[in-house]
């Protein structure tokens, strides 16, 4: 799991950024921390490196501005702990 915690500089440089403007509304995603089992799939699979881990290894939206609502995290979450605030 260590490989996923490093921010991939090359990826986050790719433009364009998300078409969603999260500065005026809620965060892109809603994470149900009670259902989340800290499996790390969302963090590993996110193509835009939106997540970091908190100290319980659960996801935190560290770079919400990158989120393109691509659905990959929430369809791969085995515990339905992630839903979108926009979709």
């Amino acid at each position: 799991m260590t490989e996923t915690n490093q921010v991939d500089e090359s990826r986050s440089k790719s433009k364009p950024q998300s078409k969603y403007d999260y500065s005026k509304g809620p965060l892109p995603l809603k994470i149900n921390l009670e259902w989340c089992k800290a499996c790390g799939l969302c963090i590993a699979l996110c193509p835009k490196q939106v997540f970091e881990t908190d100290r319980n290894a659960k996801p935190v939206q560290a770079r919400p501005e990158n989120c393109t609502q691509c659905t990959i995290c929430w369809v791969h979450c085995p515990d339905f702990a992630i839903t979108s605030n926009y979709k």
Binding site: C39, G40, P78, K87
Partner: protein, 282 residues
């Protein structure tokens, strides 16, 4: 019949049973949860009346799935999901019947029922989640555990050969056979939709991760590493047809592998027969 539905990201919450305890009993990162999501979202897109859907399973980690979902669910004995489902479907051909099973459940103890359900071409969709191990009982070898792999009953390496569930199904007469992985989610969901809509016996084999046992015993890494391996080693069927057997070794051939819409379906044929029988009644 599948319509493009603007599905909300929280759609599965409408289909989970409120009285069941969440999060699920599965290990963190288990592919079973991903398949459950795909199944629910597929059924939501298909728009079936949920009173008309029966989900039947055998025994194993995978077979715990129906309890979580708000359909008519039947959790049966090890290996016997398919004949229970045959009883349900044949008694009520109007219902949509899905079987959720695993590699051990369907291909070891359930092997006989597997080939006969295929042979009969009864309109049931079997979703076989293949994690290459017996997870529930602690990591024993299954009929799909690769040769040489380690499990608790093959501590020196598996000397047996393993099944290709899809080839077995095609050989036995199934009329829709496809393989997907828990990494390739959109393909998985689409395949479930096609399989449910297909009239006849459909098999969707889902390559899934048991990182707790298979992964650990074979040093495959955690859930995300295993999913990335599925991504690396998956080959689409169109590409696979151009590759040699050596090149395909250790690869997962994914996609719709076989479709036959011409074969008659069991319940349909029996209904025709009922007309004949009734005419012959003395």
């Amino acid at each position: 019949m599948a319509t493009v539905v603007k599905q909300k990201s929280d759609v599965m919450l409408n289909y989970l049973r409120p009285k069941m305890k969440f999060p699920s009993v599965w290990c963190p990162g288990c592919g079973n949860g991903i398949v459950m999501g795909a199944f629910i979202r597929a059924l939501d897109k298909l728009g079936y009346d949920r009173n008309n859907v029966a989900v039947i399973s055998g025994i194993g980690c995978t077979s715990r799935m129906p309890a979580y979902m708000d359909f008519s669910s039947l959790h049966t004995t090890h290996g016997r999901a398919l004949p229970y489902a045959t009883g349900v479907k044949f008694a009520r051909p109007d219902m949509k019947v899905a079987v959720i099973t695993g590699d051990g459940d369907a291909l070891a103890i359930g092997g006989n029922h597997f080939i006969h359900a295929c042979r009969r071409n009864i309109d049931i969709t079997a979703i076989l989640i293949n994690n290459y191990i017996y997870g529930m009982t602690g990591g024993q070898g299954s009929p799909t555990t690769p040769s040489g792999a380690f499990s608790t009953t093959t501590p020196y390496g598996n000397v047996e050969k393993h099944f290709d569930a899809c080839n077995l199904a095609i050989g036995a007469g199934a009329t829709f056979v496809g393989r997907a992985t828990v990494y390739h989610y959109p393909q998985l969901e689409k395949m479930i939709i096609q399989a449910m809509e297909h009239k006849g016996f459909s098999l969707v084999e889902v390559v899934s991760n048991c990182h707790t046992y298979f992964g650990r015993l074979n040093r495959k890494g955690d859930a995300s590493v295993m999913l990335k391996e599925f991504k690396e080693n998956a080959v689409n069927i169109t590409k696979a047809k151009t590759m040699t057997p050596e090149e395909l070794e250790n690869k997962y051939v994914i996609g719709t592998l076989y479709v036959n819409n011409d074969k008659t379906e069991f319940c349909d044929e029996y209904h025709k027969l009922m007309d004949i029988a009734q005419k012959r009644k003395k």
